[in-house]
Symmetry: C3
Subunit: 347 residues, 3 copies
């Protein structure tokens, strides 16, 4: 928690119009519903507008249009949620680890670690790995040989980067992330399977966040690529030679099969499955739980998710789906019959 910042200072730093006493000090964030007097909160979703009348917050960040409804001090900004995010990161800063290498870490003598970087307890840094300025490698992380970590990138804890993986600047990798394990490739031969060596690597751009227990496989020949600004939630699986375009956001538990290319600024829901070797254009939105079997060229929102039902009713419909082709044929026949009748009648 912060020592406290005055609303006056916040207004100046974050380009807000202040409504109320500039001397009021806030020290933390809270929800509109339950923030205390030393907390700042925000209104972004109109659904919560009703709490404006009763909030006890020290200040509310909100759009100018709602200023009149706010009984406590207000920081007015046309993008209240992004402004909240920025103010919250000042009030609740990342507790940076002190520079230096914990004595319990196991460091290969050929690794190149910037003096400003922090290497946590029981981490393992392999041969020729390079760790950039102010990078933070948390406890129990593994950075294998020839891997590269950019400036200001943080590996939270228990992150495993395999050999030759490259991570850009200002990235954040959460616990349990595995980057650069072998892609899944086997050649059938005489009833068995021959392993296809996975000799590519993984390249992660700048400002990428990767959620807990997410896995990104190394390429078969060339590299798997995650472009700048991509945000991956927890437990996502990215197959070998996938490319995820700039600023694309993928929700938890989604799996992208090998060699698929996803465009820029896409929003992919959770538990989506994407086939391999397909191509998704820019600005595509996929509803959570969808199955994507084919390429998509056109921006827009896509889905194939059914509506949940009480199970007894559902079963009756599910059985009908199995009969749907027959049903459609019957309707076609009836339709023809009706048309011919109509034609008969018309004649």
């Amino acid at each position: 928690m912060s020592e406290g910042i005055s609303l006056g200072e916040l207004a100046v730093r974050f380009g807000c119009t202040l409504q109320g006493d500039p001397g009021v000090t806030v020290r933390r964030v809270g929800t509109l519903e339950s923030a205390a007097a030393d907390a700042v909160t925000f209104l972004a979703n109109p659904k919560y507008r009703r709490f404006l009348a009763s909030t006890q917050a020290g200040a509310v960040i909100l759009e100018p249009a709602f200023a009149a409804e706010c009984r406590v001090p207000a920081l007015l900004h046309k993008n209240p949620y992004a402004t909240y995010a920025r103010i919250a990161s000042v009030l609740h800063p990342f507790t940076s680890a002190p520079a230096g290498i914990h004595p319990s870490a196991v460091i290969d003598p050929s690794a190149i670690i910037d003096a400003s970087a922090a290497i946590g307890p029981l981490s393992v840094i392999g041969a020729r790995a390079r760790i950039g300025e102010r990078a933070v490698i948390g406890p129990h992380c593994i950075v294998q040989q020839d891997a590269v970590i950019g400036t200001d990138t943080r590996l939270s804890a228990s992150v495993t980067l395999c050999e030759r993986v490259v991570v850009g600047e200002r990235c954040l990798l959460h616990p349990g992330v595995v980057i650069g394990a072998d892609g899944f490739g086997f050649a059938p031969d005489r009833g068995g399977l021959v392993k296809v060596p996975q000799v590519g690597a993984v390249r992660i751009g700048n400002d990428v966040e990767i959620g807990a227990n997410t896995t990104i496989d190394r390429g078969a020949i060339e590299d798997t690529v995650i472009e700048d600004g991509v945000k991956l939630d927890n437990q996502i699986q990215i197959g070998h030679n996938v490319r995820v375009g700039e600023h694309t956001v993928i929700a938890a538990c989604t799996g992208i099969s090998g060699s698929t290319v996803i465009g820029k600024r896409c929003l992919i829901g959770g538990l989506v499955g994407m086939a391999g070797h397909i191509s998704i254009g820019d600005d595509v939105v996929i509803a959570g739980k969808s199955a994507v079997s084919n390429s998509i060229d056109k921006p827009g929102m896509y889905s194939n998710v059914l509506i949940l039902e009480e199970a007894t009713k559902w079963r009756r419909n599910a059985v009908r789906v199995k009969q749907l082709d027959d049903l459609a044929k019957t309707v076609k026949q009836l339709s023809r019959g009706a048309d011919s009748e109509k034609t008969d009648a018309d004649e």
Copy 2:
């Protein structure tokens, strides 16, 4: 394996009626089909009743109704499966780790560790973390600053608890579990995304079991909450600010999106996806693989899972689903036509 316990003693301790020699001793558990003479087994599913005639087990735990069919000694109880579970935990006790801190563990001097707790090799305990009585922290676990572990709770191995996470009493967390990684929150701004600091924590109640590689994110402002008695299988993802109610059971690979509230005693199948910001009442059962997009008020079983088919047949039906709205309209027209004909005929 146990030194052996007599059926007489088991009957007394677990409130069973004994049919057979109280002096028979069992030392382990087995299946009805293949248990040896020193093993105890059970009959809960009537499907396996046919093995009663041939079982070689030392004893069978079963309902009084089946006693007559059992040729070997029997421990009669109206809930044979729960009785089996209790007897099995006596015959195969958890091999408790000796109290004390392994010399290879890295412990912050400000951590408060009960003298009866066991801290395994290469574990990392952060500043001000508190470890309760008889708690067992296995090898390679990380308990970050200000986290709290309750009495008799066990972290099996390679578990990561992030800062300020609170775990109650008698919990069991399996390898690869990550609790308290950042929730997935970003505010769109000028074509990019601003990270929203995740300042809440995670609170886990008592008697909670959490399966391997399951992840539970910390709250955005307030806490993510798992109530008492909840059982989570492997590879489940729980988003920020979710609340899972008492004694709810969730099967593997299910994902719950942020801010969703699940009631008490629910049974959620595997690979279910649940949307965010919805509410599921008490005693709701969701079939495995379902997608849950909306709130559910009423207890009952719900599904939207289709029936698997041979692929060639299936494709014909899948194409028809894409034409279903048109088909329904055609049927409506035909139906109107038929009605008007009927009306004509009636006139």
Copy 3:
């Protein structure tokens, strides 16, 4: 990267017919499209045949039928992909760890570790565990008490094997794998749940590969079994007492519920959910994202995956699925009406 091997030597070692100069040397692999003159590539998918005319590769491995189209030296073989896999593994060999135990590893004195095995930094080997010849245990692995690792098996990094787990020969386990965590078993009793001790183990055959963050639970009474040659991708969940048959391949994020038996040579797609206590025969193929609720006896390909659509159109169809049983009944009535009319007309 290799020191280089002549095409003449490759042709002899891998049974290829050489077309071109046997003295040409290759040192690495590349893609048909972008391989350099010191790289060998392959043509397996006819889709890429057009690159044959322009490839700069040192040599192309391909079927004799395409030999005439290849402008650079060619290694002719009827199975070019498997041949590529074998040649690639010679050009890019696994960098074997030197035998011996890293000083930072924590080894129980009763563990039996072959002198030719390599135990990486910060690994933990439990009581009576046995590590076979030339086995490689990477950094941060845990091999708990009484676990067994066969000859030439490699645990990449951060792999956790729980007590009594047995892994065969020549297996490869990727980072984050957890084998032998408790199966998910609870007996309902008086409104609560009693944990059922999971006293079985996990047995993994020979030549098995297991992807990053995959979890395989230990059996409830008897063992969970993965047979020889099985290939499991990342983030797969295998429940207790499952048996996966020889040479079966399962893609990422799939979940197999407890006690299900899968046959030999099956191909299971990604994000498939399989119910418990069912049986899948040999040579069954399941499309990715399918839900498998019942046993399958007959070889063949199966699916229940819908076609993705633009969301507005999709919603209209999804609503109709909820009305499908009613729709089918209406069609049946219409059909009867039409038949009776027809009958009337016929009379």
